[in-house]
């Protein structure tokens, strides 16, 4: 079981290099980037990001090689839901992305995770629709994730309450919210975000503080516990969202680490999307 004390504690991060096909429209639905992706900028941002994971957060980063056939494979978060020793490899709504799963699964197995696969052919699940708060799961029922996908989460992580949160539009649940601390939810200011937050507050047995940020994308940040006391929050850079910096600064005892991911964001990605964080206790 995940003790609360271990929330935000990670040892490993799984990332995947950017393919050059990043800017190309994905097959199938044609849900390609709305704006052209600046590939060089994307690489630069990716480099900074992995650097932070390694150096500032002290994680062991496992970088999977790029696959040109999978333009969106950089968004590894969608491929798996991880809690404790258990990883649920997902079944993305986009059939083209289902090819991303196998290599993720392999690496998770190498890490000796208990890997669970989605067995239900009717289920669709994107990892970025799943918010784990340390106490429970919220699964966005969105364009990408359906009820049966959410059930898979409930099935896999039976210890936890798994609540569903309707998400409108083409957003993922985590497009506008994330955990900014053990009991703090960072949330955007859009109506959709507010509504989702109300739903979550209604569904939970616990009380979460909310950190409202003006910009929805800034609501996605990455909380990492560094040591016995320190913790860090990876958040969108002030260059991208100047107004959203201030709310984060109100958080005490937290090292703020700004990072930009404007290019990946054009694919629907966010800060959390680019890595799978794993807590693999090596002492066991």
């Amino acid at each position: 079981m995940a003790g609360l004390s271990s929330f935000g504690r990670y040892t490993h991060a799984v990332v995947r290099s950017l393919p050059d096909s990043l800017g190309a429209p994905a097959t199938g639905d044609g849900a390609g980037p709305a704006e052209p992706v600046d590939l060089a900028k994307a690489h630069r941002q990716y480099g900074v990001y992995t650097g932070i994971l390694r150096q500032k957060l002290g994680l062991q980063v496992i970088e999977l090689p790029a696959d040109e056939g999978l333009p969106r494979s950089v968004l590894v978060e969608d491929a798996a839901v991880i809690q404790g020793d258990t990883a649920l490899v997902t079944r993305p709504w986009e059939p083209a992305r289902r090819g991303e799963i196998s290599s993720i699964k392999k690496v998770l197995e190498e890490l000796k995770m208990r890997v669970v696969e989605v067995t239900d052919d009717g289920a669709t699940l994107d990892g970025s629709d799943v918010l784990f708060t340390g106490r429970e799961f919220f699964v966005g029922i969105s364009k990408w994730t359906n009820h049966r996908g959410a059930e898979m989460v409930a099935d896999t992580f039976r210890d936890f309450a798994v609540s569903t949160v309707p998400v409108a539009g083409s957003s993922h649940l985590k497009s506008f919210c994330s955990m900014a601390g053990p009991d703090t939810v960072a949330i955007g200011s859009s109506e959709a975000a507010k509504k989702a937050m109300r739903t979550m507050e209604q569904l939970t047995d616990h009380h979460y503080d909310t950190l409202t940020v003006p910009d929805d994308p800034a609501g996605n940040c990455v909380y990492v516990r560094l040591g016995p006391k320190g913790s860090a929050l990876l958040h969108r850079s002030p260059e991208e969202f100047p107004n959203s910096l201030q709310p984060f600064q109100k958080l005490a005892d937290l090292t703020l680490i700004p990072a930009a991911c404007s290019e990946v964001a054009k694919l629907g990605g966010a800060l959390s999307s680019c890595s799978l964080l794993i807590n693999k206790k090596l002492d066991r």
């Binding site: 258990t86 699964v139 009820h147 059930e151 992580f157 210890d159």
Partner: protein, 930 residues
């Protein structure tokens, strides 16, 4: 001594004799064994005395004479035996055995006369022993019995009691003998026969106590069985079980009815068991009812242990879903708690598969469990349990009671009731949640379940959300569970403030136990050394571990053990080691009670406690307590109730009840009031449905109506208690019959009037009347036994026309038939004026006021019950008087009755008489003699 050797063989003989009659009921066995012991004694004594047969021979001739005389002797003797004896209806049934028995007894007598007092001395300790055994078996009765010993007048009753009584009497007789024998032997003979009869009666009497075998499946997989009085309330059983388990923090637990469905039906401890379970035998499961959100706050390890057992069951059965990792972790703690540290030699590869940790246990999981078990080295069982609970309590489904339902669109969902509120699941996903503070009202109607929800922040209106449950019972069950959970977890005390908006609906049902707050408070006061208990896994009782026999053998050992000696504070004993400690444990149990483990006392003090804690209901509560105390008193007085009579009375009672119910129903349909109406509507359609259901529902209906008056529930409960108590009382002294019939009359009348409040008053009236009678009884019993009773309800009779003459003899006949000596005749005559019927026809009036006055003189008890109602603009005052005239033949009852009626007329000159019910009971035997 030969007596030491004799018993065993003799017992066998005797039991062979009795074999035909042997019943499965323990009580009977107990009494039988007593009988056996007694006869053993005599037989062995006989053996002793056999050398001196000449003396015997001389003695035997008079006794055989007497035997011939026997039948006729019956009546003659009846003069000499105390009146209470006459009522033993089992008398004649014993006849066949008499022949066999008489001889030994007589011989014994003869021998006793010759020999010194030695046999008696032997008998005495044995008697005590026997009593002790009975006590242990009849825990609930323990109190009564004690009292019983003090009062001699109340002898005839329940068989077991009788026995102990009888022993005493016998002794007395013996002593008499001793004195008399010097003077006259004939005289002694008479006493003797009386003695014999007394001895015989009890033998059959056990059949009359209506006990029901009862089994409770315990959390460790063992079975607790006992015999319960047929009318026992759920609480009696629950207390017994908790005592057996040595469990003090019992408010978290409950008993489940085992019916075919997989649904959880909790035994309502405030109601009679027989009204909740229809099938025999009674089988229950002891389970956790309220999962403590934080088990570490429990005071005792033993409580945590039982919680652990429950959770292990929940987990292994899949009711409490766990991830693989958690299964393994919890399993490893369970192993540590039970087996201690991992021992590579002792714990081979297979030890693990004897445990079940998960619904689908895999080798992988078992390996993981072993791996984790190794890491727990050094944890004590209690610590392991604590770790287990710390992890288990975080499981999202911990303490969630699930119910199948459909939402308004017909989609299958699950409703989960938990400490925090109501959870709505679709499949395994939580799709909504209503915390208790958000819920304004919970109701059910037919198979629908509704919650009224506080408006959300920006909304203005409360909304009501409805769910469809599979059937009405399911809806009711869910509703009950909600009420209970809300009360237990959210309230300080069970009573609701009068204007509480929450749960203002319908059924009388309320959670009557202690709330979590109260139980925590109470457990803070627990001050006993941690009780010893043996841990075991329910999943492997049948297998032996470590080569030591753990399972079945020891259970049987346990059973024998507890049945034979342990008694109230019996502990779970699983191996020899534990047995050794039992005595100690018992002592402990007693210490913490602060009193020598008397269940009833305990119960009383608990009640007192709760009344102190809950301030809202002081008045009603008090009543309730009085009621209980009253009951105790009654029991003391009347240990002698003949059970068959009770039964008859009981069935009567039911009739009476149902009458009331139907009347209340009809009034419901006509009179409407806002919220109640809803509930009423709910019940009505089911009125004509399955009969079993009806009663319950009607009951609720009835009570629902009283809800507006806060805490009516309490009143009712108390009344129930009292009624029961009085039933017992009356049965014995024969006042009962009368009281019951009075109740009936009243019930009918009220049925015609405005029922809503009336029912309540009625109850109150009964209540008071009964209390009164109880007091009266005390004196009656002391002074003399009531031979004749005339009672009259509705005082003035002048121009009355006889409408019905009902003869209520049947009930008493049951008892009288078999009694050759005493016959009782019961007559009930009802005089009714026709106008009464006409005016009353179902027109529901509004009750203005009601009062009940009771007064008492030497031979009469008068209960005056005045109700004022408004019907169609006309106010009506109705006065009911119940006059109980008791006394010997020297009182002229007719005159007394006439006098009473006259008085009533004088008191209310402006009123007319609508009905007179005369209920008369006479002992024919007495008359015959006159």
């Amino acid at each position: 001594m030969t007596t030491e050797v004799g018993p065993e063989t003799e017992v066998k003989k005797e039991s062979e004799q009795l074999g035909a009659d042997a019943a499965n009921e323990k009580h009977e066995e107990a009494t039988e064994s007593q009988e056996n012991q007694k006869s053993e004694k005599t037989l062995s004594e006989e053996a002793q005395s056999s050398p001196s047969s000449p003396a015997l021979a001389t003695q035997s001739s008079p006794s055989s004479q007497k035997k011939e005389k026997d039948p006729s002797e019956g009546k003659g003797i009846s003069r000499f035996i105390p009146p209470w004896l006459k009522k033993q209806k089992s008398y004649s049934l014993v006849e066949p055995k008499d022949e066999a028995k008489k001889k030994p007894v007589e011989e014994r007598q003869a021998m006793e006369e010759r020999e010194s007092q030695l046999p008696e001395e032997v008998a005495e300790p044995k008697g005590n022993l026997e009593e002790a055994t009975i006590e242990s078996q009849q825990e609930a009765k323990a109190d009564d019995k004690e009292e019983e010993k003090h009062s001699v007048s109340s002898a005839d009753t329940q068989p077991a009691k009788e026995d102990s009584k009888e022993i005493g009497v016998e002794k007395v007789a013996d002593e008499q003998e001793e004195k008399q024998k010097v003077e006259e032997k004939r005289e002694t003979k008479e006493v003797q026969t009386a003695e014999i009869k007394m001895e015989k009666a009890p033998q059959k009497a056990p059949k009359k106590i209506k006990t029901v075998p009862c089994k409770v499946m315990l959390l460790d997989g063992t079975e607790y069985s006992c015999d319960l009085e047929k009318r026992a309330k759920g609480q009696v059983l629950f207390d017994k079980v908790c005592e057996q388990l040595n469990l003090l923090e019992k408010d978290y637990f409950g008993l489940l009815l085992r019916d075919n469905s997989d649904q959880k039906n909790w035994l309502d401890s405030s109601k009679e068991i027989k009204r909740q379970i229809r099938s025999l035998p009674w089988i229950f499961t002891f389970n956790v009812k309220f999962y403590p959100p934080d088990p570490s706050q429990l005071t005792e390890d033993i409580t945590r242990y039982f919680l652990c057992l429950q959770l292990r069951q929940d987990i292994a059965s899949g009711r409490l879903p766990c991830s693989f990792v958690t299964h393994a972790l919890l399993g490893s703690y369970a192993l540590q708690a039970e087996l201690g540290d991992y021992d590579s030699e002792e714990h081979n590869n297979h030890y693990i598969s004897e445990f079940q940790f998960a619904p689908n246990q895999t080798k992988e999981m078992e390996d993981k469990v072993v791996e984790l078990h190794k890491t727990h080295r050094g944890l004590t069982p209690a610590q392991a349990d604590s770790h287990f609970l710390e992890n288990a309590k975080r499981l999202s489904m911990y303490g969630v009671d699930l119910h199948h339902a459909k939402d308004s669109e017909g989609v299958d969902i699950m409703l989960g009731v938990c400490a925090n509120g109501l959870l709505i699941y679709k499949d395994r996903l939580r799709i909504n949640r209503f915390a208790w503070p958000k819920i304004l009202k919970i109701s059910y109607k037919r198979s629908n379940f509704y919650i009224k929800v506080r408006p959300a922040e920006l909304e203005q209106f409360e909304s009501t959300i409805g769910f469809k449950l599979p059937n009405h019972r399911a809806a009711k069950r869910l509703w009950k569970v909600c009420v209970e959970h809300h009360t237990f977890y959210r309230l300080i005390s069970p009573e609701q403030p009068p204007k509480a908006k929450f749960l203002t609906l319908g059924s009388k049902f309320r959670y009557s136990g202690r709330t979590q707050a109260q139980t925590r408070q109470a457990s803070n006061l627990i001050d006993r050394p941690a009780p010893y208990f043996e841990r075991t896994s329910s999943k492997r009782v049948s297998r032996s571990l470590d080569g030591a026999p753990v399972g079945i053998t020891d259970q049987s050992l346990l059973r024998d053990f507890s049945a034979a000696t342990v008694g109230p504070t019996g502990d779970m004993v699983f191996d020899d080691e534990a047995v050794g400690q039992t005595t100690l444990k018992n002592g402990e149990g007693r210490d913490e009670d602060g009193s020598p483990t008397k269940i009833q006392q305990l119960k009383l003090t608990q009640d007192e406690k709760s009344s102190h804690e809950t301030l809202n209901v002081v008045e009603e509560k008090k009543q309730a307590e009085v009621g209980i105390e009253e009951t105790v008193v009654i029991d003391e007085i009347n240990r002698g109730t003949i059970q068959a009579v009770t039964d008859a009375g009981e069935s009567r009672k039911v009739e009476h009840l149902s009458k009331k119910d139907s009347s209340s129903l009809s009034s419901d349909s006509s009179s409407s009031s806002e919220s109640e109406d809803e509930v009423v509507g709910e019940y009505q359609p089911h009125h004509r449905a399955a009969e079993d259901i009806i009663r319950e529902e009607q009951e609720e209906n009835e009570d629902a109506k009283r809800m507006p008056k806060e805490c009516a529930t309490k009143v009712i409960q108390s009344v129930e208690t009292i009624q029961e108590g009085s039933k017992v009382t009356v049965n014995q002294t024969q006042v009962t019959a009368k009281a019951l019939s009075q109740e009936n009359a009243v019930a009918i009348k009220t049925g015609e009037k405005n029922v809503m409040e009336e029912g309540k008053q009625d109850l109150r009236a009964e209540d008071e009347e009964e209390q009164l009678r109880i007091n009266g009884d005390v004196s009656h019993v002391d002074i003399d036994v009531v031979p004749q009773i005339i009672c009259c309800s509705e005082p003035p009779v002048v121009k009355t026309e006889m409408v019905t003459i009902s003869d209520a003899t049947q009930r008493t006949e049951i008892s009288t038939k078999e009694v050759p000596i005493v016959q009782t005749e019961t007559k009930t005559i009802t005089y009714e004026s026709p106008q009464f019927d006409g005016s009353a026809g179902g027109d529901a009036g509004v009750l203005l006021s009601a009062q009940t006055i009771t007064s008492e003189s030497v031979s009469t008890t008068t209960t005056t019950h005045i109700t004022k109602t408004v019907k169609g603009g006309v106010s009506e005052t109705r006065i009911e008087k119940r006059i109980v005239i008791t006394g010997d033949a020297d009182i002229d009852h007719d005159q007394a009755l006439a006098q009473a009626i006259k008085e009533a007329k004088e008191q209310h000159p402006d009123m007319s008489v609508t009905r007179v019910v005369v209920h008369k009971e006479t002992e024919l035997a007495e008359e015959g003699e006159e």
